[in-house]
């Protein structure tokens, strides 16, 4: 069976772009990816795409061209982009098509996400009484983790400080001004122990990727990248998830643990082979917990790693080199593909001021979201 290569990448800058719809941002990213691969829309044999709040991806054909291409909509919450990518991967692996596109985009209103209890299978009182907020979940999960494993508020602030520093080196990031650790710690408390600078915000943006059979990759690019592993998992019994009126006393692993393990097995490599990682950082605590859930360290080791700067761009394991969700915001449909885009830029050696040194060869991505889903990838050059 053939391997799968990524031969074109495109992005619409993240943040707020007034007057440009989410769909138009998706088209922008798609056109940039086509141009990067030096092909035209008519060369695309299939596409998968999605957004959570900005419309149906397949309507992009009216702007990209009515070629009759099979364009399938994907809707999987925070894993929408990851699911589009995984679908494109298996489509090529199966031999059905040789070249296609995965695209994700979004445009959310300002402020925290609105939640609808009944759409989430919950009773109305849960929302009415003020328990149905994602921010509370994140606060409570890291609060317990800090208690169990001795993580400090200082470590939370170091994650956010790194995100804003990396964002300041990324022309496509939303937040491009560094924020000091002291300002992060003294920022308005949103949901204890997390201050406003430790959270990402809903935002806008789009990413598109062109994938093809690896043996055809040299037709499109001199620097093909290979998608060696990709896996998606939903929550197992005992995981701690958002919007849970109750939890099992016996705690179990998160969906991340399963998705990560499957991705490494598929790629046939170990954690030591990873040169950089993009890990879901909906807030500072998430990045810390995800370092362990993805197997990059033991629970509790993160404190020293952060104090030592191990996850900075020039550290032992650079994490969220583009500023992550904290500096880019979270357009739900595009967020997972942004991570893959960043890894492609890094593995091509084209990341400019935020380039990870020493020619990185293997890079990892991880998304996590409601209601307990996770998708991971491993890409090599």
């Amino acid at each position: 069976m053939t391997d799968v290569a990524i031969v074109g990448i495109g992005i619409h800058p993240f943040g707020r772009t007034d007057g440009v719809s989410g769909l138009q941002q998706g088209v922008h990213a798609a056109k940039e990816a086509l141009s990067d691969a030096e092909i035209e829309w008519k060369d695309i044999e299939f596409a998968y795409g999605g957004s959570s709040a900005a419309g149906s991806a397949d309507t992009m054909v009216s702007e990209l061209g009515l070629t009759g291409v099979p364009f399938m909509n994907v809707s999987n919450g925070c894993a929408t982009g990851g699911s589009a990518l995984l679908s494109a991967y298996t489509t090529i692996k199966s031999g059905q098509f040789d070249i296609g596109m995965a695209v994700g985009f979004d445009k959310h209103p300002r402020g925290a996400f609105n939640a609808d209890p009944e759409a989430a299978g919950l009773q109305k009182w849960y929302g009415e009484t003020g328990l149905m907020l994602t921010t509370q979940f994140f606060g409570m999960k890291i609060q317990r983790y800090m208690h169990d494993y001795g993580i400090s508020s200082d470590a939370l602030a170091l994650v956010a400080e790194k995100a804003f520093n990396n964002g300041s080196l990324n022309p496509n990031a939303w937040r491009r001004d560094p924020v000091s650790k002291e300002d992060i710690l003294n920022g308005m408390m949103v949901s204890d122990p997390l201050t406003k600078f430790m959270f990402c915000s809903p935002a806008e943006g789009a990413v598109a990727l062109i994938l093809c059979r690896a043996d055809l990759a040299s037709k499109y690019t001199t620097k093909p990248l290979y998608l060696k592993g990709a896996a998606f998992r939903s929550r197992p019994l005992g995981s701690f998830e958002v919007f849970s009126p109750s939890l099992e006393i016996e705690r179990g692993p998160s969906p991340t643990v399963g998705a990560s393990k499957a991705t490494f097995e598929m790629a046939g490599i170990g954690h030591d082979d990873i040169d950089l990682a993009q890990l879901q950082d909906t807030e500072s605590g998430a990045e810390i917990m995800h370092m362990a859930e993805n197997g990059f360290c033991k629970d509790g080791d993160q404190e020293k790693m952060l104090q030592d700067g191990d996850t900075k761009i020039d550290g032992k394991l650079p994490v969220n080199t583009d500023g992550g969700c904290i500096a880019n915001g979270e357009p739900v449909g595009a967020s997972g593909l942004r991570q893959v885009y960043e890894n492609c830029v890094q593995l091509r050696g084209a990341a400019g001021k935020r380039q990870v040194p020493n020619n990185p060869k293997t890079a990892y991505t991880h998304v996590y979201g409601a209601p307990g889903i996770s998708a991971c990838t491993i890409i090599t050059n």
């Binding site: 009484t129 003020g130 328990l131 606060g139 409570m140 204890d192 109750s246 939890l247």
Partner: protein
């Protein structure tokens, strides 16, 4: 005095001198659920009204809809939220009352209380469940 009623049916026993949360137990697996599941395979159970604080946070800003407290953002009073581990049963998410958030500690003993929340259009006071520090602790 206005009339009072629970914000939802089948959430806690009411009226009662010693109210309890209503959960359910899967008769095959023994797993507890809250709120109670309506199923032939489940039996309704009254959950323990005492437990330990497993984790907590504070809601510091006024939630958007579907939150129903009618209050201006500047008048909003932050409230604490946490999970209470009810021994041998389940952990339930709840508001935490009767304590300054700065004094909350994981592991502290908590007990169920029923609290007035908001008035509905008919002028009835809606009651919610919450947990407060145990008087004995």
């Amino acid at each position: 005095m206005s009339t009072q009623k629970p914000i939802a049916d089948n959430l806690f026993t009411w009226p009662s001198d010693s109210p309890k949360l209503i959960g359910s137990k899967d008769t095959e697996t023994g797993r507890y659920f809250f709120p109670a599941k309506n199923s032939n395979q489940h039996e309704k159970v009254e959950l323990s009204n005492k437990g330990k604080l497993w984790t907590w946070t504070v809601q510091r800003f006024l939630p958007k809809t579907p939150y129903i407290e009618q209050v201006a953002p500047e008048d909003f009073k932050p409230y604490a939220v946490g999970y209470i581990e009810l021994p041998g049963e389940i952990m339930v998410e709840s508001r935490l009352v009767g304590i300054d958030p700065e004094d909350l500690e994981i592991g502290m003993e908590m007990e169920l209380t029923i609290e007035p929340f908001v008035k509905n259009e008919e002028g009835e006071e809606l009651l919610i469940f919450a947990f407060k520090p145990s008087v004995n602790s």
